[in-house]
Symmetry: none
Subunit: 244 residues, 2 copies
DNA sequence: CCAACCTCTGAGGATCTTCTGAGCGCCGTC
DNA sequence: GACGGCGCTCAGAAGATCCTCAGAGGTTGG
């Protein structure tokens, strides 16, 4: 369930919603991505292979493309060529298998694009996509700047830096992503299932118990000796909120 | 039995009533849900298996679907695919057995959908459904925002926060659901049977005595030292109303 | 290759919820 | 005034839920 971002937070430089094209041959994946992205206020189209991706891009003119590196009909480079032929400026976020051609991708991303390795968490993908568009100047956040602020808790997403009351807090990767999700949904109760679906990889087979564990880690680092901001709502989930 | 919710509270973005399709193979359940939902002002259709669900969706074009995860002919994912094929935007609320959630319904809550575990209470199901539609922007509440207000009593459903005269009141899960039901039906006498049917799970075997008990808990937390808002109507039930 | 770190599992124990049962008081009736 | 029906509250047992610790396994970086 996606209960953040009431109205769209992002707008294209032309004022309309940001358009993103999702290209992958697994329908389950495109479906989930499509759902999350439109719930975040983006306009989404999907394609399942390279040829239809290029064709869709021609009409849809997306600001960004989420593109699987391995497609049934062509590889990432081929699709990239097709896309660049259609669209002058388009941000591309590649999805790759962990061990596939990381070096070649590295060359490509030099052009301002980025990549995420499968399996990824939705929060990570969203963050990358947002970063990509911001850097390309193709979207302006209504927020204004790049800081997430809840009470005296501040997160700089780009620098991956978190401070509470001015003190720097060191977080591991998972802790950071969990906190980011919480901070993007302040004063809203999030269930463990929701958290699991967003912060952990989509193929994670584990149980909700991990969420409790990481909440416990976060509390130790963030709420230590201060009024707690992470509250348990028994039988429902967790909320992040500044003391009232 | 269902004498609350005066006229429909929800309208689709097109101005007409919200359409919801209920899919479950237990006729008892679909019947109850259908009754409650239409009493709440929704337009309802039902189906008892996956195939007829997809077929009905084609003609009915529901805004939301309440879908049992386990159906005689196909599983939830299959039906979901069928539905997504027919309808562009549709919210899905899954009904699952408690332990099938543990097996994980990967990505379900990520795509903007939600689930409720059986056995559930009607209030919980309704709340989830309302939340789903509100977030999808497919319904606008005549109310305007997400707060329930009765006198100086205020409930924020998303944060699960209740205040009386500005003071925060901590409630357990059941207390919260009971109060939500009362606040959604202010100035209306609700019988214990009604309350039991709506706030407790449909398979709850207990007696009306629990309702008295929980009303007592609520009074202690909400009416403590203030003019009482929860009034007993002897031989009939309870009313919530601000002092007149 | 080793050390440091991160992530997850499992178990134990602490805490909070929920429901049952019983006693008591209020109210209307007889 | 006595009685029965009804509602309120307390106390406690059973259960659900959550927190934390300790440790295995994997990954990273030197």
């Amino acid at each position: 369930m996606d209960n953040h971002s009431p109205p769209p937070r992002l707008y294209g430089s032309d004022g309309g919603p940001v358009r993103v094209l999702v290209v992958d041959d697994e329908p389950d994946l495109t479906e989930v991505l499509s759902g999350v992205l439109s719930a975040e206020g983006w306009e989404v189209r999907t394609a399942c292979d390279g040829a239809s991706a290029v064709a869709t891009a021609r009409a849809f003119r997306p600001h960004a493309v989420v593109l699987d590196w391995m497609l049934p009909d062509m590889d990432g480079l081929g699709v990239l060529h097709g896309l660049r032929g259609e669209l002058e400026h388009v941000c591309v976020l590649f999805l790759t298998a962990r061990d596939s051609v990381e070096d070649r991708i590295a060359g490509i991303t030099a052009g301002g694009d980025d990549y995420v390795t499968k399996p990824f968490s939705l929060e990570e993908l969203l963050a990358r996509l947002r970063g990509l568009l911001r850097r390309a100047g193709m979207a302006r956040e209504t927020n204004g700047d790049r800081l997430l602020v809840v009470g005296d808790l501040v997160m700089d997403e780009e620098a991956r830096e978190v401070t509470r009351g001015g003190d720097l807090v060191e977080l591991s990767r998972t802790e950071f992503e969990l906190l980011r999700f919480l901070m993007r949904n302040p004063r809203r109760v999030l269930s463990k299932a929701q958290i699991l679906d967003r912060v952990w990889s989509y193929d994670f087979g584990g149980r909700a118990h991990v969420v409790e564990l990481y909440i416990s880690y976060l509390r130790k680092k963030i709420d230590a000796g201060r009024p707690g901001m992470i509250h348990t709502v028994r039988g429902v989930g967790y909320v992040l909120k500044p003391e009232s």
